[in-house]
Symmetry: D4
Subunit: 221 residues, 8 copies
């Protein structure tokens, strides 16, 4: 029986009890951590369950891949998963939809997260509302999904339209794609919080990990 808390140096306490308590392992958010701290944590993880490293810069990723060769690494999504093999999928399916090409990094972080937490996933890219027929061409796929993660920057209008088409819950992720008034993702965040379609739960700007995690929990059965 493992200890519920595993100290790493004097700077971190891994919450190893989390799998038992919540059913999902802890992820390591790497922004603001030094390369040394990240490496020490990589040395401390074991392969009993999947560990995700998120928001990696190049140097951190290199250090981790050296400690954990064979891990899965998606540079676009800035995410490493160890071990590389995802669990056998269970629950209902998670569909990730994103408005523009520039939203792909966040969309893929969400998709990988849900996959490594045990769900079957798929992705539709570049179906923004300015060409609404591109989205409507996928109406069936949308209506058969168990949970839908919608990722959008700029006007952030996509979750309102998707939410209005389906019975599944929608997890909305604003991205920092855009500029000018409401830049940094504030504009799509506000749009999503004010969605005129009910059934939309919002996570923080660019928080693909959080969206994938929530989707995985919702899709669990």
């Amino acid at each position: 029986m493992s200890e519920p808390i595993k100290p790493v140096g004097d700077f971190a306490q891994l919450d190893t009890d989390r799998v038992r308590r919540r059913g999902y392992p802890e992820a390591i958010y790497c922004e603001g951590k030094t390369v040394e701290q990240v490496r020490a944590i990589a040395q401390a993880v074991d392969s009993d369950h999947v560990t995700l490293f998120t928001r990696l810069n190049d140097e951190q990723a290199t250090a981790i891949m050296r400690e954990l060769p064979g891990a899965f690494y998606d540079p676009l999504a800035r995410l490493i998963a160890f071990p590389a093999e995802a669990p056998e999928p269970s629950g209902v399916s998670v569909l990730v939809v994103c408005a523009g090409t520039s939203d792909l990094p966040v969309a893929r972080e969400a998709m990988h997260t849900a996959r490594y937490l045990g769900r079957s996933v798929s992705l539709i890219a570049d179906v923004g509302v300015a060409g609404i027929h591109r989205l409507l061409a996928h109406e069936e796929e949308l209506q058969s999904a168990g949970v839908i993660v919608v990722v959008a920057g700029m006007d952030g209008a996509l979750p309102s339209v998707v939410g209005g088409l389906v019975s599944a819950p929608v997890v909305a992720v604003p991205t920092s794609v855009g500029y000018g008034a409401g830049a940094g993702g504030i504009a799509p965040l506000l749009t999503m919080l004010n969605s005129c379609a009910p059934g939309v739960g919002v996570v923080n700007i660019d928080n693909g990990y959080g969206a994938g995690h929530l989707a995985a929990q919702i899709a669990a059965r």
Copy 2:
């Protein structure tokens, strides 16, 4: 030949030269004016061209209607037009579209303004994007309009969808309908400024008059 500036008391200078210079008469924005000031201005207007009184409260409206019996008054839009008869329409048509029932006062202010500045106008209400098929049922009407004014609160997503369907320019009006984060119209304003469909010009929150005026200028030929 009239003087270019007509003083009213010591508090206002009517820009009577404006019709000659800009082709459109001045409107009287009544918010922040006393009933006495509004009445004095009503006494000073003549029937050579249409005068609009906007953002009226009940007391101001009563005072004006007493000075200008026979004027047109729409209490929902808080607008009075004198004389009541609109000019013969010219130019291309102006279509006003609004997302929800609560956006109607602003939508009607825009419609009346465009009509009294000499355009033919029509209105489609309650076609928000959460039920996208309600909007698409009007696709032909949208595509045949000369200019479209889109009025929306909450998520403000309607102009992006409409803008993506048509070749006509879109004038977008955010309304203060909504609550919580981005309340007071900030959320739809930001959405509209970040519209992923180009061809959308935005006016201030609840500024139906400004939208109708701009639409009338665009629709002039």
Copy 3:
């Protein structure tokens, strides 16, 4: 077979197709509507499925209860449901938790909404994090819930703590309870979006209806 859109006067188009398309009926958001508009809509609803009227003021509520005697009315939650009998519950259970007494109106709006959309619901009140043992006394109840709606104003810290204790998804609702910096619900909204526990989906400030709706969708099986 009913028409997908049912016009009410010239100001509203009821989206009656919504039950078929989304599985849940439309609700009538009453803020910003006139008493006459609300009454006309009340006359147009039928008892085939439940209709919710939300954000009612006293005058609107009185008008509706006159049209729909026997409807369920909770003045604290400012909500009317017609017909009064909720559907037989299905899916997993929805637990609503609120931090303080002042958050109760929003918590009850969420609870009623989930109940009328077909879920079994329960409520725990006044368990803010400043007396953490009050919350921990309910740990088992929290861990057996299917979905948890957490309602909090002020510091909005409750969802982070609850989210860290359970495997179920958490729907977080910031309320406008509080004052000073971040008043109007901005402080708890930001706290919830930045929750250090993943698995938290946020809805707009005071949006009990949206939270209950999302919870009902998540809890559906």
Copy 4:
């Protein structure tokens, strides 16, 4: 007859139907795209109609010019047009006016956009309101334009003055020129939204492309 949607890799879906539907081709917004993505899109465009690449950095521009030699490239405006020859101008004229030298990049993006969408264009630079006589010296030119795009940073006062002088519609573009309170273009954006002259439609900060597009639509006949 071409397909309405043309996929590029698994990251983009070109909306080739847009010319038919809206009358104007799609532009490629390059910020946030990788050089590889931009190059792949450049390989996919054809010369049937003009394609604009906007918000280019140097590396992206070099990659595109290698794929599309002979394209028009304005480094100051960060814009590439392919093919280089603009359509024969139609409709009324578009006049671009900018307040200061630092607003020129945005002003030129607007001018090129309108030109490549088929309008005749001209540009007046450095006529800010602090030396009002510089602007008034151009009064005739202003009054004969079909549409005026006004570009300004700092106090953003220019559209109010221009709008008050002419009957043509004004498209106002705030720029991020300035510093301190309201930096990043917020100050001129708010000024323009609050313009005391009606007939001003505002686009997002630094959005020269959007302004040029809207102006081209307005100037079409």
Copy 5:
């Protein structure tokens, strides 16, 4: 010889030394004070030098006029001056200019303040920049003023234009006239702080008293 500090009840300490130290008497800002507190202060003032009571509500004004009959009271400016007779004017002249009729209350508060602090004053109303020729008609009067106070709401563009025409310093006062984005005076405040004409000093929104005081100091010789 008077005491430098004169206590009123246990809630106020009149800074009677201020005339000696700064050359100008203290004013009583009445917002947030109870009627009883205001009355007690009125009883404590003497007629050695002028005392101004600013931001009065009706009830406070009535209470003061009862204590200080013969005082000067301007209800529009919400200001009382005691004694009513202003000092013999000295220094150069102060010209107050306001953009719209709704800015008059603030403009008059500024004018009265400067007058009671010993300057000669005059006022030009309703010369907003949307009809620039109305302003230019006063160019000579502007250029001969010693100090100019410019009062404007909405777009707040007037000080930039005035500042560019004259050699005198300009004191700019944003007003809370306006609505929508940047309401409450934020829009004109930012405009004025970003004025492209140097030589503009800004005071707080609606702060006519502060503007008049600063102008009086500048105009002192």
Copy 6:
């Protein structure tokens, strides 16, 4: 031995364990509670230790005074204490200083709170920094205090000056006194957070209760 949690109706759970755990009783924050809820809580309190009711409106205060005759009530501070007799003071002294007359309600809420939590208290009013000598006249009193609570609106500059004069910790309370830019207390809040004198801890705007509580804890020995 009492239960750690005492339920009141189904809407509140009094944290009676708090005295044992923290050493200080719970206070009842009354804003947002109905008169019925407040009355029910008043019925549930006992006289074993002091209970504070804060942010009372008139109706709530009347209801409580009827249930708890003999309680201490300060309408200006909107606070009731029961029982009325404060504990014998212990620890070092708490000095409350406020900048203006309008800050008195908050200052008195802080003073009463500290007194009822067992400290000796005193108050200096109307010593804002615009007349710095008024403050310096109290330099000795400031330097002999154990803890100083500084209450200020407007520019909020007082804590920086006081903090620079003394060795005691300073608790700073911004108030919502003021108007225009940074209104509602944002301006003094930011000033206090950016105090150039270290040793200043800030509480929320108008939070006299919180300031008094923190001061009482600091002054405990």
Copy 7:
């Protein structure tokens, strides 16, 4: 007799009429201009009156100094003046006071500007309010100045204290020195706008040039 407007390339129009109209020459704000543009302007200036180049980066400064050898250059203030000799001082004296060492660049930009516009200037550094006696040691110097420019970041409290000590007008300049809440100068800007001492005119954050210009105008006689 010179032309009132002197074009430079197709990107700038020097307002050479400005000396006649306003009494002060135009300055060249260099942020956002290319090195080529700045060089071309340097080639166009003559030595009839002083030209200031402000907000220079190193590369721009080098280019100008090559065109105008012998010009005055202060790298800390990022300012070049040509010709180097300042006019004979006239009017009353300008005193610049700054709160901290980090505010010096802005303070020196203000001082140089006033000097080159014809005033006698002096500077007191590092007299922030956290050590109020440092400031009071200069009380006489403060009281004999004709105009005082007060430069401060962080809490921005200095102008309130200075303004309360003197009869001269105060020009307040917030700086971007500071961090955290209200960073970028917002905190001191709000403090200064809310100064409890009247007689304070505020310019934009870090706008030393604007402050020096305004001070020079005020100090002119």
Copy 8:
């Protein structure tokens, strides 16, 4: 007897009187100072009492260590103390608690500051509320501390929970750890200001120095 103010060059005036007046020496905030200025100050300090240099960049630190060999330097906390030996601890103990690994730099700046101002200190790291049992495992240590400094980014919920567990005062430090909505520390700042547990005093974002200073003052006896 030393002079109360010690000038360094013409850019700084060391407040050497501060130890006598406040009991604590001045610290040198190095952000925004040039390396030359920092070196000159390092040359001017003596070893009579401890001097802290805070917010150092690498170059500044190197320069100081060359002037003051043997000083204490913590690169993570960006702090140098000279002389390196801290005073003998007095007063009650200061406990620093931080939520995540990324908050460590600020936590250590607070800890060092309190230690060099004469207190005994200890540190608990990585006990965020998402794993509440990690915190509760330290309940005894928390309850025996004299003062607790709580450092947290993201949701900033930790001070509310800690404050609710103890009788000691809590100094809360928001950090800029986090992203998206409320980034830069705004989210945890607002959370802490709205803490539902009284007894929490907040300092500016990332202000470890200020927190340590305040804690040292509170813990003095």
